[in-house]
Symmetry: C2
Subunit: 149 residues, 2 copies
Amino acid sequence: MDKLNLIDGVILSPLKIIENPLGNIYHGMKSSDSGYSGFNEAYFSTINYNQVKPWKKHLKMTLNLIVPVGEIRFVLYDERENSKSYKNFLDVTLSKKNYQRLTIPPNVWVCFKGIGKEINLLLNLANLNHDPNEIVRDNMNAFKFNWSS
Amino acid sequence: MDKLNLIDGVILSPLKIIENPLGNIYHGMKSSDSGYSGFNEAYFSTINYNQVKPWKKHLKMTLNLIVPVGEIRFVLYDERENSKSYKNFLDVTLSKKNYQRLTIPPNVWVCFKGIGKEINLLLNLANLNHDPNEIVRDNMNAFKFNWSS
């Protein structure tokens, strides 16, 4: 059976929230932070309630994902045969309640599901510009992850 | 009377929204974009409904501001005596309806007001890390801007 465990090269970095009566500040990323590997593009993704964006992996890009609004469940899968976490899943839900940055190295599969009923917003700080040629996609049932667990 | 006009060095860059039934993609910034001047920190600010974060200016930092959730009204003021837009205000409201990136060079004053009744979220992609020594603050009435206009 696959273990629910950390995946080699994946980093979860707790982030600070600075409270302010006019409106809070939420840290994101500094270029000196662990997991930073250059900046080429920042973009937002949203995922609607109960929807899943199916498995994809990047062949070159390192992702740095932050969820400042709503709640998103990420499932990662390690299909790298030489990895010490080969065949591991990582299952982590990010939101303001669990406010962390998720760094995903190239060649690790990821899919994500909208948990919040309103807006679920994800920022990706990427070290490469979007390039469809370095993205591999698969369907939602590719890796037998049990979403109801 | 001060003119409501553009301010020298300030850039408004229209951004793409890519619609998707599972959840849209919202462009942010590429390192090749106009207004990019290096990456050192990304952080979010929120501003509550009807609240104003008072005037401040950065002496060194260039701000790149994007509003992916809610609606925020920005007012900028040019107090640089050698600027061709000296004493001009810029009054611009950003949201998904007017989805643009606002680039603010150093030494231009900015304050902003929460217009949306729910979450109003701002991403700043900054070329310098946060440093209180390069920030100058003033109170909300410093520059006689008529918010009700």
